[in-house]
Amino acid sequence: MENKKRPVFLDLTRIDMPVMAVLSFAHRITGVLMFLAIPVVIYLVGLSLSSPQGYDSVTSFFDSGLFRLAVLLMLWCFSHHFFAGIRYFMLDLDIGVNVVDGRRSAWCVLGAGLIVTVIGMVMML
């Protein structure tokens, strides 16, 4: 087995974090946040399909600013995870596997996720 006493340096505040690492970590955070939202989404789908009153209460949730904020957060999580996932697919297919392309595509993913979120924000106004 490996040497258990090998040195470990994981001081995140002192490690120089390349954009790909930020992206990878954001992929995890957005995934966990969406995992936590699953029961809420299923509840809303069920409520909206249960009765006209249920449907109306789901649409009226959008009147609340807090609910809209939560939807926007989920939209960012989803779009970030979506674009980062496509980037990982391309890496699996040996596309863009070098530092220059990897860094460029990571910035594109961060930007695309934010652009979709801003579009969603404008549409909800």
């Binding site: 966990v32 969406m34 699953i38 299923i42 069920g46 399909l49 996932g85 297919l93």
Partner: protein, 131 residues
């Protein structure tokens, strides 16, 4: 790139491992994670376009849309892909950051049963919608 679908004997050549080794189980999980992602990607794009073109304006229209067998079944498959994808992702995250065996087992159990419950819940909803 990792190669998939090799035969047992060539698998052995590849990493010096037997097909039943942990490596090939990891490979299968890796593949399920990608296949579920591809299905979700296709569903989200297709359903998103369909929803944008035929946006339901009332409860009855929304219910009629989801009562369609094709929509109901593809949406159920979407949620099953989602829950499988979430299981693999959460399992990876928990196993990366939680190194106390008992806590790890407890959390994996809670997450796994929650996802199974969610699967039954959404199937009950989507497969019982009628006009």
């Amino acid at each position: 790139m990792v190669c998939i679908g090799r035969r047992a004997d060539s698998d052995r050549d590849w990493h010096g491992d037997d097909v039943m080794s942990r490596k090939s189980i990891g490979l299968r999980i890796w593949l399920i994670q990608r296949l579920s992602a591809v299905y979700m990607l296709l569903f989200v794009v297709c359903f998103g376009i369909y929803f944008a073109v035929n946006t339901p304006a009332s409860f009855l229209e929304w219910r009629a849309m989801m009562a369609n067998s094709f929509v109901a079944i593809t949406a159920t498959l979407f949620f099953l892909s989602l829950l499988t994808h979430a299981w693999i992702g959460m399992r990876d995250v928990i196993m990366d950051y939680l190194h106390v065996d008992s806590l790890r087992l407890a959390l994996l159990t809670v997450v796994g049963f929650s996802l199974l419950g969610a699967a039954i819940w959404i199937m009950k909803i989507l497969l019982t919608v009628s006009v």
